[in-house]
Symmetry: C2
Subunit: 458 residues, 2 copies
């Protein structure tokens, strides 16, 4: 079946596709905050209804957390599993948004038209590129060219606690010949990419407690222990002066980037200055003796994502706090073992606790890094399809973010994942004023049509 | 004029005095939070009305911040200036209070009856001990035994920005023979004290900024600078391994405690274990080679009172924050110069800033330590009066907290301050469930009657 009339159909129906996306974006499906549980449920219902409108059998499946959405449509080989997530990040701080994050709109900007709203790029807009490609295909040809299973999650932004159990229980239904995941970005504005290397992640929270209540620093200061001081020491000691992470055994299983991959990356002539300059920075931090792309794609990291303790309101309160806490994430590469690093982190903290201070670790969940098997023909076929749509040679790239589902598809379902997405560096993922370029949305859907055609050709 | 009938009057009128205090405590006069500005004003109005009810000429005086209250009554020597503050600390976190902090009540506890509510001890309950003493004296004798000027401030908990300018402008009106300040505590449950040594304080806020917006730690982590890491280093480096503060020149002007004072403190047999045990601690922190009382009364300190950066809500957000901030207070002793220490702190931070991180210091206001002249006969007279009321020998003590007004009375008005208060260690100043013992309130007022009698005798 030919892609051309389907591409024309996508062009003609763009206004309707945008209208659907806006309805979807208006649902504040923030998975990390229990206050939005009903909205997560509503987003799942919206997806079920939309898949049914395509002619799929689709349903919401309960989990201990937010529901999964599973839909089936089409016949024939290959069997493709498509994954996306309908949950979004919190929109705080709200005062930094120039519009209500859940009242999305298409805006004209100097760099082109953008879809503005929380989730526009991560991941609602991206997942809809694939759904719209399928819709247009069915509209033109009456049926899809192969069997497709849709699988949408609602807990990606909160660590996917229900994902592995759900994959295990439904492995027969979900295992496919190839898993397509649309949750990544372009290499640059012009160059599409297939991500073949993903860092894993370990998420930690550490809570240090001292006195049984907040104390007056004038009455107790100098004699009573201050948990913020202890936490500062714990966090300051996470890195040495060269930017390396100091946890015992942290670099076990971290392989050097092979010379040929390094050469390919060097050939990309990555513009680190421009990359940092767009967010107001001019100097790279982190491991001094590594190239920028190595630091971003191939090296493990430790980052403090949040810290809190004592009085943080307006003015001053001379409190000596009973408690201080931090959230820390470790990006993992190669064969790094999240469980071993969790133990090393606990040990790092506990060795720095003075008498009277206790530590709790309420998180500690992680997923290892993932490496795709690019020798499969589907990878080269998809790369050619992307290159045709964007009129630029597509690349196999690494990515610093973690998409644990890719590893789970391999380990639990035995299904090779292929990560293709159309986000751009300036999409402001997880930040105020998140956007998704209208071009990403439109040419993204067109890309999927070409990929479907390429994967089912002959 | 005899104290005895006045003491009897205080005993008889305790219910009415409590009722007045409850009305005063119900006003949420939180000076650090602009949302409560009208309540601060209301608390000042309440005091003006109460002083007028005594027969004083009293008025509210405008400042650039919250108003001052000044009242005059009585004739003859000595001229006594009485100081207290009507503003209170914020009541957060509200969920840790077992009652509404601004719906005060007298509660029965295993340790006796207490007045529960924000400001009960700091400082509304304390300042009213003096006002009630005057009221009872006037009721019995028709007039006070000497000239008294009441001076109440509404910015003590927010650094008293208007205090020095106001003292300067009104020095002729406020200068007196002796300034009485009721904002301190007993030495222990049984032993009253006159505070003759006060630590000063320098308050700092440091705001570190990196990227122009929050970043996704997966996309930028390892390459972009993280202000929380930098702040952790800055704060961890404030103390060395022995607990000493590392700021350049920090200990300049810090004299060793004279042997005779040390001997007197040793004779107090301070129960450090009990002091710490009451707040769930068992080990002293801070300078290793100093006694507990030295650390609390005589040594300078650096304490982080609050820290904030990145995502601190429920769940996890893999953000690499644009900003991190901390509030730090330095308690000062001897001749330590707040301005020099401010410069040393700025230097300490700036020497630890990597490229791309900038620092702002929005505060940096301080007051030096204060030492009273205990050779004045008034000190011994007041000590005897306190000893009589509490049937326990009163002591001259140091205190770790800062009461900058004491130093300003010396330096701006040339008036020697005398600090007498009836708070107890477990009053939970600045903490949830603040209380003031009913005994503190009642015997506090009785103490002032005896002190007035002693200071005006013959």
């Amino acid at each position: 079946m030919s892609a051309d009339p389907v591409l024309a159909r996508l062009d003609a129906d763009l206004p309707q596709a945008l209208e659907r996306l806006m309805t979807f974006l208006a649902i504040p499906s923030i998975s990390t905050d229990p206050a939005y549980a009903a909205d997560c449920d509503r987003a799942a219902d919206w997806l079920v209804a939309d898949l049914k409108a395509l002619g799929a059998t689709a349903e919401k499946r309960a989990t201990p957390g937010h529901p999964m959405v599973v839909g089936h449509i089409g016949e024939g080989a290959p069997h493709l599993l498509f994954y996306g997530h309908y949950d979004v990040q919190p929109a705080d701080p709200p005062e930094l948004w120039h519009r209500d994050p859940f009242d999305p709109a298409v805006e004209d900007t100097p760099a082109g038209r953008v879809i503005r709203g929380r989730g526009a790029a991560d991941d609602k807009g991206q997942l809809m590129t694939f759904v719209e490609a399928c819709r247009a295909w069915i509209a033109e040809h009456g049926a899809l060219p192969c069997r497709i299973t849709f699988f949408f999650e609602g807990e990606e932004e909160s660590g996917s606690p229900s994902l592995v159990p759900f994959l295990r229980e439904n492995a027969d239904e979900l295992a496919a010949d190839l898993a397509l995941v649309c949750d990544t970005g372009m290499y640059d504005r012009k160059t599409p990419s297939i991500v073949t290397q993903l860092r894993g992640m370990l998420r930690e929270e550490v809570v240090l407690r001292g006195a049984s209540r907040d104390l007056h620093s004038g009455l107790y200061g100098g004699l009573a222990v201050n948990p913020i001081h202890v936490l500062s020491r714990v966090l300051a000691d996470l890195h040495d002066d060269t930017g390396r992470v100091t946890l015992e055994g942290f670099y076990d299983g971290v392989a050097e980037t092979p010379p040929e991959v390094r050469a390919q990356w060097d050939a990309l002539a990555f513009d680190a200055e421009g990359f940092l300059g767009r967010v107001g920075l001019s100097h790279g931090a982190g491991e001094r003796d590594r190239t920028a792309l190595e630091r971003l794609w191939a090296r493990p990291t430790a980052e403090v994502n949040g810290i809190e303790g004592g009085y943080t309101g307006a003015g001053f309160k001379t409190v000596l706090p009973a408690e201080a806490r931090a959230k820390v994430s470790f990006r993992l590469v190669g064969e790094q073992d999240p469980e071993a690093i969790h133990r090393a982190f606990v040990d790092h903290v506990e060795r720095r606790l003075p008498p009277d201070v206790t530590a709790e670790f309420p998180m500690g969940d992680g997923a290892p890094a993932t490496q795709m098997d690019v020798s499969r023909p589907a990878f080269e076929a998809a790369r050619a399809a992307l290159s045709a749509e964007w009129e630029t040679e597509a690349v196999f790239a690494g990515v610093g973010g973690s998409i644990p589902v890719a590893g789970y598809f391999q380990s639990v379902l035995g299904t090779e994942p292929m990560l293709i997405g159309f986000g751009r560096d300036d999409d402001a993922l997880h930040s105020p004023n998140e956007k998704y370029d209208l071009e990403s949305f439109h040419k993204g859907a067109r890309s999927w049509v070409r990929i479907l055609e390429a994967l089912t050709r002959g």
